[in-house]
Subunit: 216 residues, 2 copies
């Protein structure tokens, strides 16, 4: 399979973890979000939304939106499963995933930061506070649920990795990168560490991708 | 079933359409987003995210996040189906739904508008432009896909209503409400009209709910 992504993109990071968990080989073409390559005519042919990731199946079929891609991978390559078997468990996992992937992460994307700077004159400090606010809010809501629910165990839902853990690891990584104090989220921190012990998660991390800044 | 919603909430609107399409009876308790009732301690007991909707099953089980709720309804009450049967079709429908429900609608919620006003001093005109921008962007991306894809027919994916149509109708309604020129989106406009001919969609509209402003 082929994927269009970017080392730093949270949505591409989610798909990378999913592909690794399923044991699927893929080539990732990096679309440079810093230089605006996602808005080029060539990339808009691939993805009219001008966002990453796009996943291209071996037969040429094209897929957008990280959560839709993860569900597709799970339906077509069922092992190991990324969702629980029971509808209530599936609803809980999907709701956790959406708290991060729909109600938190979209706010911090480059297109939003550009709008804040260009239309409202928000400086870098203001934009960083904005990012921390929405990342923290997603973590607060999830921490409240995860710490209260009996379904929470080694991972978000029992002892098997699900789509919720994929979103948790990506959100926690972004939050740490932007200076959110992770000590406020002990349940999330514990699950995150459990995720990073799995090679599929560790290998998918942004700083291990081509194009990422080298450690000083 | 019982639902906590609000007449104007786009996310509650989605669930209302889904319940109607499945022929499920429900009582909707309105949480007044205008007065901040969603942040009350009593409602946080129901939904720690302090957002609507929350769906309560007859057995007391509680569900959050509109897309997770729609998937749950579809898994537990399969007729009529709200997703295609094939994985590629399901991925296409879910991606369209997420363009609206994840990458567009969250930007216009009350919590975001409050942040813009309080932290960046954005006035009502600026907030309205912000809302129009993100609603339009979601419609532009979807219009490009829907007008190009051969799967688009009477509805977003063939001639059966799916979760994508639910999100389309809600997004189009919000966009019209906020003064977005809908003539730019002819495919979406056509599908929206087809949706509104269905009583499940018509009865779920915000202005038909208790608490909505009366027509002048």
């Amino acid at each position: 399979m082929r994927m269009f992504g970017f080392w730093r993109s949270a949505a591409a990071h989610r798909v990378r973890i999913g592909l690794n968990l399923k044991g699927l080989a893929y080539d990732e073409t990096m679309i440079d979000l810093d230089s605006g390559q996602q808005a080029s005519d060539a990339y808009r042919e691939v993805n009219p939304g001008a966002v990453v990731p796009t996943l291209i199946e071996d037969d040429g079929a094209s897929f957008h939106q990280s959560l839709a891609i993860l569900e597709y991978l799970d339906e077509t390559r069922p092992e190991p499963p990324l969702l629980p078997a029971d509808p209530k468990g599936r609803a809980r996992v999907r709701a956790l995933a959406l708290v991060w992937a729909a109600d938190s992460h979209p706010f911090i994307t480059p297109r939003v930061r550009s709008y804040l700077a260009e239309h409202f004159g928000v400086d870098e400090g203001g934009r960083t506070e904005w990012i921390r606010h929405w990342l923290s809010r997603g973590l607060e809501i999830a921490e409240a649920r995860l710490s209260a629910d009996t379904e929470t165990a080694r991972f978000c839902h029992g002892d098997q990795v699900t789509i919720a853990d994929i979103c948790l690891a990506v959100q926690a990584g972004s939050a740490k990168h932007f200076g959110v104090e992770m000590e406020r989220f002990p349940t999330i921190g514990r699950i995150w560490r459990n995720c990073l012990e799995i090679e599929a998660f560790a290998a998918a991390q942004p700083l291990r991708q081509p194009g990422a800044p080298k450690p000083a």
